[in-house]
């Protein structure tokens, strides 16, 4: 990757993290851990790889991004707001009465959200259906779907994976946010999904196992996936839950945290 692009994406990911810390902080509580861990992947997708048009969110040939771990809604919202999918004044309305930015992704409320999610395990099936529909229509869209590691305890993830693998949906790129933590503790202690790379390989996927907080690795992995035909794709993003929010990284469990005003202001250095 060119150094100027890497510099831009790195700075953008930092800005988006601060935006998300502020967005959740203004409400006071939220799913900070899983929002931070996927931010590098979203940055690469929306500022480099995915074809989307903020002026035309329903553009038929756009790439789709399904945030199946729907509680990462704020991560999507800071990106979509930054790109101009919705009016800037919405940014301070997360979870407020009547908002268009609810904690979990809602395609009927937020322009640019391609699927409603929140009841875990469901988004990947929807992505599989989109991939089949795109293939049927000769629509060049790539379908990106971000799933969680805790979410992958849901059986439906494996129903969808079995289908995608056996039907060679090569326009589907799944990303696993493998931050190894879930609401109640470590994924490994509660119901381990390890080893994910081997699991998805055995389901017929083309699998890449990368540092999911490394922008260059993410970009390369997406390029590799798009170049390999005949397989559904899995990119295992080895991430750190809370990455880039020092208080979240330091917490024993940052799945959902209270974020008082002084904390988010200190973390972001934002005074306004």
């Amino acid at each position: 990757m060119e150094s100027s692009k890497l510099e831009f994406l790195t700075a953008k990911a930092r800005q988006l993290r601060d935006d998300a810390i502020e967005m959740i902080g203004r409400f006071g509580v939220g799913h900070i851990g899983g929002v931070m861990s996927v931010m590098d992947a979203l940055t690469v997708l929306y500022y480099d790889k995915a074809k989307v048009d903020p002026k035309n969110p329903k553009w038929n040939e756009r790439d789709r991004v399904i945030m199946s771990k729907g509680h990462a809604g704020p991560a999507m919202y800071v990106v979509l707001g930054d790109l101009g999918f919705y009016p800037r004044e919405w940014e301070k309305t997360l979870n407020l009465n009547g908002t268009n930015l609810p904690s979990h992704c809602d395609m009927q409320k937020t322009p640019g959200i391609d699927m409603t999610a929140g009841s875990l395990g469901q988004g990947l099936s929807v992505a599989v259906g989109m991939a089949e529909a795109a293939r049927l229509d000769h629509n060049p869209a790539t379908i990106y779907c971000i799933i969680g590691d805790g979410e992958s305890q849901e059986g439906q993830i494996w129903e969808a994976s079995m289908y995608a693998g056996s039907h060679h949906l090569d326009n589907l790129i799944v990303m696993l946010d493998y931050n190894k933590m879930q609401l109640d503790g470590k994924v490994a202690d509660i119901c381990d999904i390890a080893p994910p790379a081997e699991k998805w390989k055995s389901f017929g996927f083309d699998v890449q196992d990368i540092d999911g907080n490394d922008i260059e690795q993410i970009a390369d992995a997406i390029d590799n996936a798009k170049a390999r035909k005949g397989f559904a794709h899995m990119i295992v993003l080895n991430t750190i839950k809370g990455k880039g929010a020092s208080f979240a990284e330091a917490a024993s469990n940052c799945h959902s945290m209270s974020i008082p005003e002084e904390l988010w202001r200190k973390e972001t250095g934002r005074t306004e």
Binding site: R64, M115, S119, G123, G129, M130, E132, A133, A134, Y163
Partner: protein, 312 residues
Amino acid sequence: MTDEREIRQTLASALVEKARKDDRIVVLDADLMSCHATKVFKQEFPDRFFNVGIAEANMIGMAAGMSTFGKIPFTYSFAPFATRRCFDQIFISVAYAGLNVKMVGSEPGVAAEANGGTHMPFEDMAIMRSIPKMVCFEPTDATMMEKALDEIINYPSSVYIRMFRKKAAKIYDDTLDFHLGKAIELRDGSDVTLIASGIMVERALQAADELAGEGISAKVVNIHTWKPIDKEAIVAAAKKTGAIVTCENHNIFGGLGSAVAEVVVEKCPVPLKMVGVKDEFGQVGKNAYLSEVYGLTTADIVKAAKEAISRK
């Protein structure tokens, strides 16, 4: 009189015909293609037919995803697996997301016969009726299924179709003027109204005959769309006859009896009796035997009608 046509074959053939002119239509099945006669669709449109395997939750999610691309997916399974097995997927991925999927659940209630209690849904309409804006439809015969298809395809949101698969009693001919949500009066009467759906329509007509022999005039109304329900027809019937009997091949809890009672109690209270399954599970057996066991026979309707009238 038994129909010459199976409802499943009628629907599958009609879907093929519609799909020739409407490339939005796709069909998904969960390893029950042979039970639903959907092979004809697969043969003509192999790219638009998706057998997802025994994975109903994934089927519903896939259909939701396809609908975001403007497809009109028809999903098929046996009614219990089409509804309760994947309730949350229907609720969230389809309904809450505002997407448009047409879901066929076959072998309602006692029609499941030898498949028994695991396959015998007395609750599918109650489940689907609890989902905001979900249209809940039970075709009475093949003619109605065929006539309903255009409206189902063009209805802007999701529809659940509770489909008896095989040859039902023939109630309608080609003159049927069908609209979703619009009840059909099959016979006028003045003493009691029998409101029936699905296989119970034929029995309600037989009950009306028997009642006529005893000098009781029964109006018979087919409510095929349990939601949105035809409130006007129910109120008009309550006002005219002053007593109502609901007849359903389903648990009365949350079913047609409940849906009619919700209207009657609020808009025009009259005595009401419910013929239907009373909080029971299914079991193996022939339709006729099970109908005796669960109180779904013509005699049960006649008895309920007399009781309702006596409470006027």
